[in-house]
Symmetry: C2
Subunit: 245 residues, 2 copies
Amino acid sequence: MKQNCAIDFCRHCPESHHGVCPSILKILTQNNSHFPKQFSLSPGQYLYHQGEHHQEFYLLREGWILLTSITEEGKRQIIRSVLPGDLLGVQPDIHGPAIYSAIALQDSIICRIPDFLKICSLHPELALKLVQAEVCETTLAELYMTNIGHRNALEKVAFMALELYQRLKYRGLNNGYTAPFPLSQKDIADTLGLTSVHVNRTLNKLEKENLLSIHKHELTILDYEKLNTLVGMELQSLSTCDLLS
Amino acid sequence: MKQNCAIDFCRHCPESHHGVCPSILKILTQNNSHFPKQFSLSPGQYLYHQGEHHQEFYLLREGWILLTSITEEGKRQIIRSVLPGDLLGVQPDIHGPAIYSAIALQDSIICRIPDFLKICSLHPELALKLVQAEVCETTLAELYMTNIGHRNALEKVAFMALELYQRLKYRGLNNGYTAPFPLSQKDIADTLGLTSVHVNRTLNKLEKENLLSIHKHELTILDYEKLNTLVGMELQSLSTCDLLS
DNA sequence: CGTAAAGTTGAATTCTTTCAAACACGGTGG
DNA sequence: CCACCGTGTTTGAAAGAATTCAACTTTACG
């Protein structure tokens, strides 16, 4: 069964290694003798800050990165979690300042991809992969929009946990019904537009009702079926992503 | 001054006519002897329904189309307004069922674009245009996510009105500080996750505070500066969209 | 072991929804 | 031209959901 496509860059490549499918890797290597330009980040370190220029695309190969932005009123919005295989740094105006900050939650390995767009214009298949990734990202953002707009706190938290679980499972990063979950309750709150106090009460309720539990940076799905029903199955609409096939 | 880029397909083409820039039009015409395959819709007519297959890309040349989806609980979510020059029908699995419905709010002229992806793979510049459009769309969805998650009703409605005003103004569809606004209060509610009752009270408040007014399908910006301050300027982050320059 | 950060709990307040009823407006048919 | 109908808008009062504030407990880490 195919999983939620989210924002994977190379999801339909069964031989992919650390999120990079070999055919893409080959193109990138051909065009850049220094590829891969890898480096690592520790938890709490920023890849780039909102408002700064970076003008690069990045590929997350290992770890967990959060995209955040600070609103005028000083509130923090978490845009999304970047998981291994996802692209970072793509924005409308690539020469303009970064519209989000990118911060590592775990030890992360990142790959800088210079001249990505130039390479794209030489390799249409790469450009179409990028289109595919962006369309999935749009759809995910729109799903979150629906989720945040039309649900109560219980459903919001359930949706978010399930969405992340699906994406982790697709990458083989789960362990049965448990998966790593480095987000704090404040992080969940800042993703969903709730307060951490209310997230806390909601998590207790979710555990009491035997739906899911989050403890010590581990997410456990207690009742997958019931959770799916509660969330409303919309994640299934992302289950295929074959824009290019 | 550049405006909010939103999801324009050909925004940086000064000679664009009805949202289609000539160089793109040339490519599309070369590859398809029957282009443009235009047709029109009346208010209330659907271009396609959620769950049905259509397998086509469409370009809106005139009018106003709403993308909607119905949740499990029967609530209607409006994903976004499609304005002239915007693409429709792009989704993760182009061969799968439509994830949204598309309904016309005004008399609309639509252009069917067959084999879009095939043409893209022959014309890298077209593929990159598509990437640009999708990145803008993602950013817009993420902005709405922040808006819906972290603001109260007054700010939500103000944000939505300003965002639509900016996009209409970019297209020259405004008339000074007024612009067409075919959405009902229920439509606003279904976009923002509010009830129409509360939208009504909020609109009254916005008018009483001299920020904006919506009457008889017309939006009037009463105090642009104050509105921008209230919304928090985040729309400016979309003001450039030069991914490709 | 001590400190800071994260999580937990209760009570009061604020915001939004719900329900119910009335009003306004545009279009249709008589 | 007017009565009628339906949809969309307006208003009030009560109920419900989430936030705020404040205090307390637990956990992580040097």
